[in-house]
């Protein structure tokens, strides 16, 4: 089989849509165009039936009741709705929230927004692997804490938070727990009851579904105030005409994940390990960012000392990955996740994230190893830092000129 170039190893950014998902959606993009809220004719009934089937499919994947699933435009909206919606609904209890610096910006920026409007937010300090433990949460909780929001799996390094234990601490103090499970759902078993979460965010395009659609799980009895007002769709929590084809796609993607996830995770995990071992065996001074074992099976975040991430990506031309380097972001700030974990800036700039998935092959992994090793060696030859380090100079003691 010939390689399809460039090789895509950026599945945590987005995934290609599974053809079976597209097939399920086609009918609802064409002949079955009804509005699921049209309660007065056959077009509406059929659209509604399709949405309800998808609701069951999503619920089944995470062990929820269909009624506990609210469709949204994606995980960013789900995060916003869960956090702002609970903060507003529980204003009488208090105005304290707890989160962590490794969260996605959809969570962090929402928390910052609430801070501007008078709420108090505690940012927990993760360990060197990006994990928060239950004891830290327990210590930060007060009687006025309304919500704790901590992700299940980190998008950049793949580290898993011990949500189950955290949930027990949160419940003890009468607060609610939201978890951004965008990266976890579809990659590993997620059961809302076993985890003990009250709210959970899901995105379709991270599990081979379409972009622009997602879901929020909200446990029965938990009040969430709408952030989008209008026709009162989705049990008054999220108004707006339902994206029927997108929702059908999310449902189909969830059903496929439920059937194939166990096998797929085994295969992807073996490929990821092959990639990591292959690189580490041939290059020195490469460090793993994230937890060595408590980690998503598809993710590998590595720092290549003395070379800069964007340059490294450009050298390996035919491989699509991502980097924590500031040079890839408009803000010129390196990855906030690696910074929160205490990774020094120079290794933050030198980081690459490889994320594998359903369509990754051994051939692609082997090709990538060759590319990475060659590119890193070439750029080290070009790097004044590598030359200095080899010459015995301690780079931490050099007086650099900041600019």
């Amino acid at each position: 089989m010939s390689l399809h170039l460039p090789i895509y190893l950026d599945y945590n950014a987005t995934t290609p849509m599974d053809r079976r998902v597209l097939e399920a959606m086609m009918l609802y993009l064409t002949d079955e165009f009804g509005n699921a809220a049209s309660n007065n004719h056959e077009y509406g009934y059929r659209a509604k039936a399709a949405v309800e089937k998808a609701r069951q499919q999503v619920a089944a994947l995470i062990g929820a009741e269909p009624k506990e699933i609210i469709f949204t435009s994606g995980a960013t909206e789900s995060d916003n709705l869960a956090i702002k919606g609970v903060a507003e609904a529980r204003g009488e209890r208090g105005e304290h929230l707890i989160t962590c610096g490794t969260e996605h910006s959809a969570v962090l920026d929402t928390c910052k927004h609430l801070q501007k409007h008078g709420r108090e937010v505690t940012y927990l300090q993760p360990d060197q692997f990006g994990r928060v433990v239950a004891r830290q949460v327990a210590e930060a909780l007060t009687d006025r804490t309304v919500l704790v929001t901590l992700m299940l799996a980190n998008n950049e390094v793949g580290t898993l938070n011990p949500i189950c234990e955290i949930a027990a601490a949160v419940k003890d103090r009468g607060a609610l727990l939201h978890s951004d499970a965008t990266q976890a759902v579809g990659k590993m078993p997620v059961n809302v009851n076993e985890l003990g979460v009250d709210l959970l965010s899901i995105s379709a395009h991270k599990l081979y579904g379409p972009k622009g659609v997602g879901a929020m799980y909200v446990r029965r009895g938990v009040r969430v105030l709408a952030q989008m007002h209008g026709g009162g769709h989705e049990r008054n929590m999220r108004s707006g005409t339902l994206n029927v084809p997108g929702i059908v796609g999310l449902g189909a993607a969830c059903e496929i994940a439920g059937r194939e996830m166990a096998e797929e995770a085994k295969r992807v995990s073996a490929l990821r390990d092959r990639l990591e071992r292959g690189i580490l065996a041939r290059l020195d001074e490469v460090t793993l960012n994230g937890h060595p074992t408590e980690r998503l099976a598809n993710t590998s975040n590595l720092s290549f000392a003395y070379v800069e991430g964007e340059g490294l990506m450009m050298r390996m031309k035919d491989v699509a990955v991502s980097s924590g380097s500031a040079c890839t972001s408009a803000s010129l700030k390196p990855s906030h996740v690696l910074s929160a974990m205490g990774v020094p800036d120079e290794l933050n700039h030198a980081s690459l994230r490889f994320s594998l998935g359903r369509f990754s092959t051994e051939e692609e992994v082997d090709y990538t190893i060759e590319q990475v090793v060659r590119a890193a060696r070439e750029l080290r030859e070009l790097s004044p830092l590598y030359e200095m380090a080899r010459g015995g100079i301690d780079l931490n003691k050099v007086h650099w000129t900041e600019h």
Binding site: G311, C327, P334, H349, L382, P384, T401
Partner: protein, 131 residues
């Protein structure tokens, strides 16, 4: 990042990569930037009879930083010291069509020339003082 063809070419086939003897009195070495900021450039100039006879660089940085450094070595060789000092980052940024967020890479290149010439002048002053 989408770069101009020129940047891609200079990044892929950088010119004048290397290291000169730092102790040579005719060589000026400038090291600018910092690892924490994500780019460090070392530029070395060999000066003979008031002209830049040769230039070498090494860069830790993104595509634009490496391309800017390579480009500056090409610009500077053969120029008089005054002409070399007159090279501005704007010229580099314009010639390479650097995206706005990458203009600082051209500033680094300009700083590299200044740093290298400053080092050369110090050496010259030290040499004439001891002579």
């Amino acid at each position: 990042m989408q770069y101009s063809e020129k940047v891609v070419d200079l990044f892929t086939n950088p010119r004048h990569v290397g290291t000169m003897d730092e102790d040579d009195p005719n060589v000026g070495t400038g090291v600018v930037g910092s690892p924490a900021c994500g780019d460090v450039m070392k530029l070395q100039l060999r000066i003979e009879d008031g002209r830049i006879a040769d230039a070498k660089f090494k860069t830790f940085g993104c595509g634009a930083a490496i391309a800017s450094a390579s480009y500056i070595t090409e610009l500077v060789i053969g120029k008089s010291i005054e002409q070399a000092e007159a090279i501005s980052n704007r010229e580099v940024a314009a010639d390479l069509q650097l995206p706005p967020v990458k203009v600082h890479c051209s500033v680094l290149a300009e700083d590299g020339i200044r740093g290298a010439l400053e080092d050369w002048r110090k050496k010259q002053a030290a040499a004439s003082a001891s002579a």
